[in-house]
Amino acid sequence: MALWIIIGLVALIIMFVWATYNKLIQLKNRIQNAWAQINVELKRRYDLIPNLVNTVKGYMKFEKETLEAVIQARNTCIKASGVSEQGAAENQLSGALRQLFALMENYPDLKSNQNVLNMQEELTNTENRIAFSRQFYNDIVLRFNESIMMFPGNIVASIFGFRKQDYFEVDMNTVQNTPQIDLSFDSSTPTAPTGSDVQKR
C-alpha cells in the first residue's frame, strides 16, 4: 500500500517537472520568435522610407535637407553593425521622421493627396507594429520570468538552469539601446538548455 502511494507521488512529481519544463521551453522559443518579429518590423520600416520620400518629394522641394536627413539616417541604420551604433542610427531616424511629419503640416496640398495619406497610414502602421512587437516581447519575457521565479516553478527552473531574461528598454534620455539578443542554448550543458540572457553591450 505504502509502496503504491510512493509510486503515485513520484509519478506526480515527474509529471509536474515534465509539464513545467515544456512550458518553459515553449515560452523561451516564443521569446526568440518575438525578438525576430521586432526585426521584421524594423526591416519593414527601412523598406518604406524611400517610398515615403519619393511620395512627398514633389511637394516639399524646399525641404531638401530634411528629406536627405531621413534617407541618410535610414541608410546608416541599415549599414550599422554594432548595437550602440544601430541604436544611435535608429534614434536619428526617428528624429528625422518626426521632423518630416512636423514639416508636412505646413503643406496643405500634402494632406489632401491620397498617396500621401496612404503613405502616412502605412508609416503609422509600421511604427505601431514596431512598438507592439516590442511590447509583446516584453509581455512574454514577463511571463517567462514570472514562471521561473514563482514557486514551485522556480525549483524546476533552477534544476535545468533557466535564467531570467532582460526586458527590451528604450532609454528616452540618451541613445536608444537596441539590445542584442543571444538566445542560443549554452553549449557547455547540452542536455539542459540554459537561459542565456539578453545581453546589452
Partner: protein, 308 residues
C-alpha cells in the same frame, strides 16, 4: 491595476461558471430523483442534451452569426486602416490574424466569433469604421480580439448550453407533472413537499439560469475591456470609443436576440430592460473601469521601468 483587472475578471467569471455548473447539475439531479427516483439518470440526460447542443453551436456558430448580419469580407484596399489595426493587435496579442468582416449597419458596433483563435473572425459595422478614429478603432478591435484570446466564444457556448439543459430538463419535469408520469414519490410521505419544490424549480430554474448567464456575459465584457487595455496600453481610447458607441443615434437594424451577446455594446438599449437581463454591463461602468486603468496606467509604466 491593468494586470489586476484582468486577473479579477477572469476569477469572477470562472466562479460564476462553476456556480452555473453546480446549479445545472442540481436541477438535473432533482428532476432525475423525482422522475426516475434516481438523480444519476437526470444528470446523464442533462449531459446528453448539453453535449449535442454544444457540438452544433461550437462548429456551426460563426457562419450562422456572420450571415445573419450580412457580413462580407473586408477588402484590404477599401478598409486598409481596419486591416492595419487588426494586424497591429494580432502582433500585440500574439494571436493569428482573424478574418476581417464588415457588415452594413450605420450604428457603430462590432463582434468577434469563431471557435478558437485559428478559426476566428472579427466583424465591424460600416458605422463603426466611419465614426471612430484610429486609436478608438484599435481599442474596439483589441476588445474583440480579447474575446478571442480569452476563449469567450467557447465560454459563452458552454454557459448557454448549461442554461439550455436546465430549460429542457425542467420542461420534461413539467410535462411529467401534467401527465402524472411514472413517479411513485407523490404517494410517499413528504411527497407533497417534493412536488412543491419541483413546482418552484420548473418556474424559477430557467429564470435563474438566465440571470446567471447574463451575469457571466457581463463579466466577460469587463474582462475583454481590461484585456484590451492591456493589449493597447491605451484604456482611454476604448473608453472614448464606448462613449461614441453609446451615443443615441440611428437604431441598429441587423441585431437580434441571437447575436446580441456577441456585440461590443448591446444594440437594444431599452430603458425597460433590467440590468439583470442584459448581456452587457452598463457602459458607464465599463468606462469607469477603463478610466481607473488609464489613471493608474502611467504609474504602472513607471513601475515597470523602475523595476528593471
Amino acid at each position: 491595476m491593468i494586470y489586476d483587472a484582468v486577473a479579477k475578471n477572469k476569477r469572477n467569471s470562472i466562479l460564476l461558471l462553476f456556480f452555473m455548473t453546480l446549479f445545472a447539475c442540481g436541477v438535473c439531479w432533482f428532476v432525475g430523483a423525482y422522475f426516475w427516483e434516481n438523480g444519476i439518470v437526470g444528470l446523464l440526460i442533462g449531459f446528453g442534451i448539453a453535449a449535442i447542443s454544444a457540438f452544433t453551436s461550437y462548429y456551426a456558430g460563426d457562419s450562422i452569426v456572420l450571415s445573419s448580419v450580412r457580413a462580407v469580407k473586408a477588402s484590404p484596399i477599401q478598409y486598409k486602416v481596419l486591416h492595419d489595426v487588426v494586424d497591429e493587435m494580432s502582433i500585440a496579442s500574439g494571436l493569428p490574424k482573424p478574418t476581417v468582416y464588415v457588415f452594413p449597419d450605420l450604428a457603430p458596433n462590432a463582434f468577434a466569433t469563431g471557435r478558437d483563435p485559428e478559426h476566428s473572425s472579427v466583424a465591424v459595422s460600416e458605422g463603426l469604421y466611419r465614426q471612430l478614429d484610429r486609436a478608438e478603432l484599435q481599442g474596439v478591435i483589441a476588445h474583440e480580439m480579447s474575446h478571442i484570446q480569452n476563449r469567450d466564444i467557447l465560454f459563452v457556448t458552454m454557459v448557454s448550453v448549461l442554461v439550455g439543459a436546465v430549460v429542457i430538463i425542467s420542461s420534461i419535469y413539467r410535462t411529467s407533472l401534467w401527465f402524472g408520469g411514472g413517479s411513485r414519490r407523490r404517494n410517499d410521505k413528504g411527497g407533497e413537499l417534493f412536488a412543491i419544490i419541483g413546482l418552484l424549480l420548473i418556474i424559477f430554474a430557467p429564470l435563474a439560469g438566465r440571470i446567471i448567464q447574463m451575469a457571466i456575459s457581463r463579466q466577460r465584457e469587463f474582462l475583454a475591456d481590461s484585456s484590451a487595455a492591456y493589449m493597447t496600453r491605451n484604456p482611454g481610447a476604448l473608453a472614448s470609443a464606448l462613449r461614441k458607441i453609446s451615443m443615441p443615434r440611428s437604431k441598429s437594424h441587423v441585431s437580434n436576440a441571437a447575436v446580441n451577446p456577441l456585440f461590443i455594446a448591446e444594440p437594444f438599449k431599452g430603458v425597460n430592460v433590467k440590468e439583470l437581463f442584459s448581456t452587457h454591463p452598463p457602459i458607464e461602468k465599463r468606462i469607469e473601469q477603463l478610466d481607473k486603468m488609464a489613471y493608474s496606467g502611467s504609474v504602472l509604466m513607471k513601475e515597470a521601468t523602475d523595476a528593471n
